[in-house]
């Protein structure tokens, strides 16, 4: 993994993008698109742009324990989750479970690749995609209704 902690060294991203960084951004975008079952050029371009924008805005919290790959992964996650939030109208798309559920739904809805070219397209009206996602959404458990199941005693109760 690349271990270039640009942010921690105080460089501004806008100053330069090395060949290694370009490759890293493209690899990250490709990996994230593949995790959504896609290899679409337009979607790839949008994600690369989103990653570059994130780097350019220096929007990551500088932290010496994270490396560039992790920062890019976080940026990709946030970009996609943000887009999914716009599409579905739900705010809770950033959490691990809800993000994975939406990923599942997108993979199911996009089996024939019909939504690939609209991926990360924030200009478009996504009501039909939102409908497709809601149809494919899995629900692993119903609402939690906690209660205590007390252990019974075998002892004679004190009177």
């Amino acid at each position: 993994m690349t271990d270039m902690t640009v942010a921690t060294q105080g460089f501004s991203y806008a100053a330069f993008e090395s060949a290694a960084m370009t490759r890293l951004i493209e690899d990250t975008a490709r990996a994230w698109l593949r995790s959504f079952g896609m290899a679409n050029t337009q979607a790839n371009h949008r994600l690369v742009t989103a990653l570059r924008d994130a780097l350019a805005q220096d929007s990551f919290a500088a932290n010496d324990r994270t490396n560039m790959q992790d920062l890019l992964d976080q940026a990709a996650h946030d970009a996609i989750a943000g887009w999914l939030a716009t599409v579905t109208g739900q705010h809770d798309c950033y959490g691990s479970t809800s993000f994975s559920m939406l990923r599942c739904a997108f993979l199911s809805a996009n089996r024939d690749g019909v939504w690939s070219e609209h991926f990360l397209d924030s200009e478009r009206d996504h009501r039909d995609l939102a409908m497709a996602l809601s149809v494919q959404m899995m629900l692993p458990t119903p609402s939690l209704k906690s209660c205590e199941m007390p252990r019974q005693s075998l002892e004679r109760r004190a009177s």
């Binding site: 993994m1 990996a31 994975s100 199911s108 458990t141 119903p142 209704k145 906690s146 075998l154």
Partner: protein, 708 residues
């Protein structure tokens, strides 16, 4: 959800007005009530005690013809205990036969009628399927068959399904998730079929259910508990829910599951006799247990609120196997229900409830070993405070189902010693005191014959009558026509030969538990697995040696005594052959072709079992061989797995451990990981392949192994 949480007030409102305090109307035609409960029990226990007393007197008379020695007194004592056990079973069978013959309901004693529901279900129900390393194909095939059947009743909205996984095998874990997603998609049942996996499987199955009760169960009024191999018809499930709705004091309603689906000779013999004789015993049990029936752990419906309030299992003091967590939880849960005033019913006429048996004697014994440990714990609960007398009796029966074996063994051994002693003694014509009149030897061979016939009769008579009832009944075609008689004869012969083997195995299990040996927790074998002859020989070698030595001693003691023991000795010596050939799938299928051991489920398979077969065959093609690899390569499986994990973050130590395992995975491939390493990786969202391999110069053509 019903507001009733007190069984007494629930019962009162139902009994007095057939209308609840909140205005709920109960259907009087399905009320679980019947006349003369005390008289039923008085008759059954009275008859059993009388028969035991007569048999014990007969035995004492036979053995003490000359003079009762100490060893002979021991024999009489063991005989009386064992006979009481047989006697209770005999009279239960006789009552069951009468009820079946007269076509009477075991509870109401009225003429048997099918349940006619008045209106739709009002309750919300959930079918829960606790699984532990079971084949996901089989589990979800059963779920789908039951779901489809339920959908046909039009009452699917009143039911959800919940798979409660305790699985620790990484491959099976991933396969379960994929099977769940497929079932949801295929059945269009998103939001109807749920799945959750427990990270820590404390307290085994009862802990699994407890965790469910503390999280999601309160969303429902009733839960129908399945085993991994259970299948139920929609009608049966809806009827059970309907009975619960209309009997507000009922805590548990148990259906009698019919064993089905296996093809080996061993399983087919057991399936046959369970189908022929099982309803007799269920009817008899239901007759005298009434609202104090037992819970068998699956294929039963439970009132959730009552279960949560009063069935949290205690932890027994001391170390396992006799202490610690309660293993055979079902009997105990029923006893706690009864203690709190809820009723537990066994409804013999509830059809459409199935389960599967172990395919061979070895797997059957393995399951018994597990049950033995659980049932032996019940010995401590028998004397615990607060349980009802009939619950204590159920505990006692559970203990006796295993302890009766060493008691029979002790009876036979003490008989051998007594016979040996008698051959060493010369008859004393003038025992004890000076007299003019000698005491002549008395021939008690007639009484011995009477006792033998009496004992064997009590053992097999209800079963024989059940077979004859089927043979002369209208449905005999479904059991192979007149071949049912030959099937019955062969089953009797087989069970006679198998009984001594089980006696030895159970004695060994009881001894093992009493000496502090524990048993692990493994999934039951659910395929038609055979037992190779060498494996059978290895398992039974001690039994064979015991049989041969015992036989030699018996010949030395008395040839007549040897012949007396010969059925038992034959079972012991022939055990490996019996185990091997009875486990054969080919022999089982050949028997089927000959019309032997046929059950109605085989003759005309119900829709649910046909669907089960179809789904199992379809699912077989999509088996997951390496779950982790699937998650690394397949984005959908990866996303699904991440979505099903609880939302949490690893602590620093775990994060480092996971990092090391990923490094190992990237360098050495997935096959280098241990099961625990895979489980640790799978406990957190799994990185996709390109992320695992990022930053490495991998050239698949040069080093293909690294890719995997």
């Amino acid at each position: 959800m019903s507001q009733l949480s007190d069984p007494k007030s629930a019962k009162m409102s139902a009994v007095l007005s057939e209308t609840d305090i909140d205005g709920t109307v109960y259907d009087p035609t399905v009320q679980l009530r019947g006349p003369g409960v005390a008289q039923r029990r008085f008759f059954l226990f009275g008859a059993s005690i009388a028969a035991t007393a007569y048999a014990a007197w007969l035995m004492a008379d036979v053995l003490g013809a000359d003079q009762l020695t100490t060893m002979e007194m021991v024999v009489v004592a063991f005989f009386a205990i064992n006979f009481a056990w047989i006697s209770l079973s005999f009279f239960t069978g006789i009552v069951g036969l009468i009820l079946r013959g007269l076509k009477r309901d075991a509870i109401t004693l009225k003429r048997l009628k099918p349940i006619v529901r008045k209106g739709s279900l009002r309750s919300k129900n959930v079918v829960v399927i606790p699984v532990y390393n079971e084949s996901p194909d089989r589990v979800f095939a059963g779920l789908r068959a039951s779901y489809e059947s339920l959908a046909k009743t039009g009452e699917i909205d009143a039911f959800d399904f919940f798979v409660l996984s305790d699985t620790r095998d990484p491959d099976i874990w991933v396969a379960e998730e994929l099977a769940w997603a497929k079932a949801c998609t295929d059945l269009n049942a998103r939001g109807k079929i749920f799945f959750r996996r427990r990270a820590e499987n404390t307290e085994r199955k009862s802990g699994n259910l407890k965790e469910f009760c503390e999280t999601y169960a309160a969303n429902y009024d009733h839960m129908i508990v399945f085993d991994a191999d259970s299948v139920m018809s929609g009608e049966a499930m809806v009827n059970m829910a309907y009975l619960m709705e209309n009997n507000p004091d009922a805590g548990i309603i148990q259906s009698p599951p019919q064993p089905t689906g296996r093809q080996t000779l061993f399983a087919r013999i057991l399936q046959f006799i369970s189908r022929v004789h099982g309803p007799t015993m269920s009817a008899g049990l239901s007759f005298w247990c009434m609202g104090s029936s037992n819970y068998w752990g699956h294929n039963a419906i439970i009132r959730v609120k009552a279960f949560i309030e009063c069935c949290g299992l205690p932890v027994l003091s001391g170390k396992p196997p006799m202490g610690g967590h309660i293993l055979s939880h079902d009997f105990v849960e029923a006893a706690f229900m009864r203690k709190a005033g809820w009723r537990c019913w066994l409804i013999p006429q509830l059809e459409g409830s199935w389960e599967e048996l172990p395919p061979n004697l070895i797997d059957f014994a393995i399951r018994d070993r597990r049950w033995c440990q659980g049932n032996m714990q019940h010995g401590r609960l028998m004397v615990a405070h607060g349980f009802r007398p009939l619950s204590r009796l159920h505990f006692f029966m559970g203990v006796m189902s295993f302890v009766s074996s060493p008691l029979w063994l002790l009876l036979l051994l003490s008989s051998t010693i007594a016979t040996l002693q008698n051959t060493q003694l010369t008859h004393s014509f003038f025992p004890g005191h000076f007299t003019m009149f000698p005491q002549w030897p008395v021939d008690r061979s007639f009484e011995m014959l009477v006792l033998l016939i009496f004992t064997i009769g009590m053992l097999v008579l209800p079963k024989i009558i059940s077979i004859l009832m089927v043979c002369f009944g209208r449905d005999r075609k479904q059991y192979g026509g007149v071949m049912v008689l030959i099937s019955g004869l062969l089953e009797t012969l087989y069970s006679a030969l198998q009984a001594p083997i089980m006696m030895m195995l159970h004695s060994q299990f009881v001894f093992s538990v009493l000496t502090g040996n524990q048993v692990g927790w493994d999934a039951q074998e659910r395929d038609d697995a055979g037992v190779p002859f060498k494996a059978a020989l290895k398992t039974h070698r001690t039994i064979i040696v015991i049989g041969l030595v015992w036989g030699a001693v018996a010949i030395f003691v008395d040839t007549a005594f040897f012949w007396w023991l010969s059925p038992i000795l034959a079972g012991l010596v022939l055990s490996p052959w019996l185990t091997h050939y009875s486990s054969s799938l080919a022999v089982g299928k050949a028997a089927r072709r000959m019309g032997l051991f046929v059950t109605p489920e085989e003759y005309d398979s119900p829709d649910e079992l046909r669907a089960l077969k179809r789904f199992t065959a379809e699912a077989g093609e999509g088996d997951v061989k390496d779950g982790l690899m699937r998650l690394i390569e397949d984005p959908y499986a990866n996303a699904l797995h991440s979505a099903l994990l609880p939302a949490r973050k690893p602590d620093a130590r775990t994060a480092i451990e996971i990092g090391i395992i990923y490094e190992k995975l990237a360098r050495l491939g997935v096959e280098s990981l241990t099961r625990d390493e895979k489980l640790l990786i799978l406990s957190w969202p799994v990185k996709p392949l390109d992320q695992i391999m990022a930053g490495r110069d991998v050239h698949p053509s040069e080093n293909p192994k690294k890719q995997s």
